[in-house]
């Protein structure tokens, strides 16, 4: 918290207060914790913000001129703040986030009603004027999922709390059938994922939608068990486990991106723009496949049995071609 106090500038705090006053006026009696959460600050910080408001007001600064703020029993009340009862217009960056986001939704991922997207966009453009031009120059695409149909059905299951039956081709290239209670639908970069309680694994699992062969809504309640908790997918849907194999890789300059794309444990820069990387994998099958895909730009150096498997199976793959093609 100290760091925050030292770092926050007066203008940052002023921006928060100018939004906080109208928000509190629209939410009189809101719990202190809820208000703190809305503004991403601690309750101590919120109370110190309220104490500061208490000192401000219209010229004269007699008691009647000052903003009223009361947060005695965990509920916040604000009054006598007519001059700043309405929030300041959007900054360019604020308007940009909503408009670029709406355009991305409108571009066809199928997540939001098209009328809703268009209506909101039109109203925001009218309210923000010249920012609209800038927003058109920042473009975001949400991944489309086979016409959005799979996505729409997953969203429906989530909304209606219905269990779903999946036929799923795993990253190891095996097809399984699973009943899943949906928890979340999210995308990471170019792919959509469904997170849910998998009855087959009796655990939370994440399924990549483009590997789902069929998705069927069942007439069963799909509320996940109370102890099912979402994984932290902020970085990647892959979660390291204790039983993982530690794999060491060397990346040529053309494969440097692997270190950003996959969850790596350590990266060491080598001469000639090469990198040495360590990853943990529950099943190193994906590392093997990546080594073949990248044709030598990614070289596994440990463990030895994985290195041997990559070499021997590459030779086996080559042997399937007639000799005249191979030479």
């Amino acid at each position: 918290m100290n760091a925050r106090h030292v770092q926050e500038s007066a203008t940052t705090r002023l921006q928060r207060l100018l939004t906080m006053v109208p928000w509190l006026l629209a939410n009189q009696g809101v719990a202190t914790e809820r208000a703190a959460e809305q503004f991403g600050v601690s309750t101590d910080q919120l109370e110190s913000d309220l104490a500061l408001l208490f000192l401000c007001g219209t010229p004269g600064h007699l008691p009647d001129d000052l903003i009223e703020a009361d947060w005695e029993d965990g509920r916040v009340f604000v009054g006598n703040a007519d001059a700043i009862a309405r929030p300041l217009r959007f900054t360019v960056d604020e308007a940009l986030t909503l408009m670029v986001g709406l355009r991305a939704l409108g571009a066809g991922a199928g997540l939001a009603a098209p009328d809703g997207v268009l209506g909101a966009l039109t109203k925001l453009e009218a309210a923000t004027g010249e920012t609209a031009g800038l927003a058109a120059r920042v473009r975001v695409d949400l991944p489309a999922e086979r016409g959005g149909e799979m996505l729409a059905r997953a969203q429906q299951a989530l909304h209606q709390h219905r269990r779903i039956r999946l036929r799923y081709a795993s990253a190891r290239d095996e097809v399984t059938e699973r009943d899943v209670d949906p928890m979340r639908l999210l995308n990471l970069d170019a792919h959509w994922y469904l997170e849910g309680w998998c009855h087959r694994a009796a655990d939370v699992r994440v399924f990549r939608l483009d590997r789902v062969e069929s998705l069927q809504l069942l007439d069963l309640d799909g509320t996940p068990p109370a102890h099912a908790t979402s994984r932290d997918l902020a970085t990647t849907p892959y979660q390291p486990g204790v039983a993982d194999v530690v794999v060491e890789l060397e990346l040529e300059p053309s494969a440097r991106w692997v270190a950003e794309y996959y969850p790596v444990e350590s990266v060491k820069e080598l001469p000639g723009d090469r990198r040495r990387v360590t990853v943990r994998a529950a099943d190193p099958g994906w590392v093997r496949r990546l080594a073949w895909r990248l044709g030598g730009a990614l070289v596994v150096t440990a463990p030895a049995d994985l290195v041997a498997a990559i070499r021997e199976q590459a030779h086996a793959a080559l042997a399937a071609y007639p000799p005249q093609v191979r030479s």
């Binding site: 110190s48 401000c56 986030t97 120059r137 990471l188 970069d189 590997r211």
Partner: protein, 346 residues
């Protein structure tokens, strides 16, 4: 550093930030509460913290700085002549209609769309701005009911360190310089007037005018190495009205060519992602299927096929066969298991 010195730092910094916030807030309220522009003398009398300044000069300096900082926040602080007969006397005020976010009412579908639009940035560098925008809407009385979109988390990521400086440069229309890694792995210094930022197929690109090449160019943010430096002045160039970043980005991606499908031999139970995209699938025996499949870019598709190792064999065309074989040969040759420096034994 002990606890004691830490608390001193907090005591010495916090009061001045609080005092300045209080001063700025009082100034904003005073300027919003007046119909007539206020002269500097009246502003000094209206804001307690200004009354405490040691001299008129000290107040002047402080007010000039405060005025600039409020304008940087987007607060429309107007300067006008107080009395037409004495046009050297300036007054200041903030027009409430210019200041306030207009009242907007949204339908339930529009609210759901706005909530999702804000959520898109939750893992990105603009998360705070998206949250501030939605909070402002809530502050005008919009009820952000998110029940219909619970559990839906569309999002984009802005992991590249170059994203924020480039976004500011696009916003401010300001040229930048950076080092760029070319496809062959070498680095080159670039000077670019950025026009737009585009995320396509999970990757960020900046489009703009390349000053050295005197041409429109596309750069992938993931290939920018080191810092992006803003150079030159703000608003230094205009973006062509017909600039469509996505068209430019797409033009750098391989073209879709009308070509016959590839014919693959795929082991039964394997290659499921290929089977799903297949034109047709036939059984050869209980070990192998024959799969006809369309592809776009031969190198990308060869890599995908090579990734299946011995489970997928290319029957045709020959250039795809060659591309897959070359990848597999390289992979086999580099995975000798020899420790660097050790003799390779066969």
């Amino acid at each position: 550093m002990g606890t004691w010195s830490g608390s001193v730092a907090r005591v010495s910094v916090q009061p001045s930030v609080a005092a300045k916030t209080e001063r700025l807030l009082n100034l904003v309220i005073a300027l919003l509460s007046t119909r007539m522009p206020l002269t500097k003398a009246r502003i000094r009398a209206a804001v307690p913290q200004y009354q405490d300044t040691a001299s008129v000069e000290a107040f002047d300096r402080m007010f000039e700085r405060d005025k600039d900082e409020l304008r940087e926040l987007g607060i429309p602080l107007e300067t006008s002549v107080v009395d037409p007969l004495f046009d050297d006397e300036l007054g200041y005020r903030i027009d409430r209609r210019e200041y306030a976010l207009p009242e907007i009412s949204f339908t339930p579908d529009e609210v759901s769309a706005l909530v999702l639009a804000g959520r898109i940035w939750s893992q990105a560098s603009l998360a705070a701005q998206a949250n501030a925008a939605l909070t402002k809407l809530a502050a005008t009385g919009v009820v952000l009911d998110d029940r219909s979109v619970v559990g839906v988390e569309p999002r984009i990521r802005t992991q590249e360190a170059s994203f924020e400086p480039l976004r500011r440069a696009v916003r401010d229309r300001r040229a930048v310089t950076f080092d760029y890694r070319k496809a062959d792995g070498t680095l080159a210094a670039r000077r670019v007037q950025p026009w737009g930022l585009t995320q396509w197929r999970g990757r960020w690109y900046v489009t703009g005018w390349d000053a050295q090449r005197e041409a429109e160019r596309v750069f992938r943010l993931g290939r920018i190495v080191g810092p992006v430096k803003a150079v030159g002045s703000v608003g230094a160039y205009a973006v062509p009205a017909d600039h469509e970043p996505r068209v430019l980005v797409r033009s750098t991606e391989p073209e879709v060519v009308d070509q016959p499908p590839a014919i693959l031999r795929v082991r039964v139970g394997a290659g499921n992602t290929l089977r799903r995209r297949a034109r047709s699938i036939g059984d050869i025996d209980d070990q192998w299927s024959l799969v006809d499949i369309d592809y776009r870019d031969i190198d990308g598709f060869a890599a995908e096929v090579a990734g299946f190792g011995p489970d997928v064999v290319v029957e045709a065309p020959q250039d795809l066969q060659r591309a897959v074989l070359s990848l597999l040969r390289e992979a086999a040759a580099r995975h000798t298991g020899a420790v660097p420096g050790e003799q390779v034994r066969r």
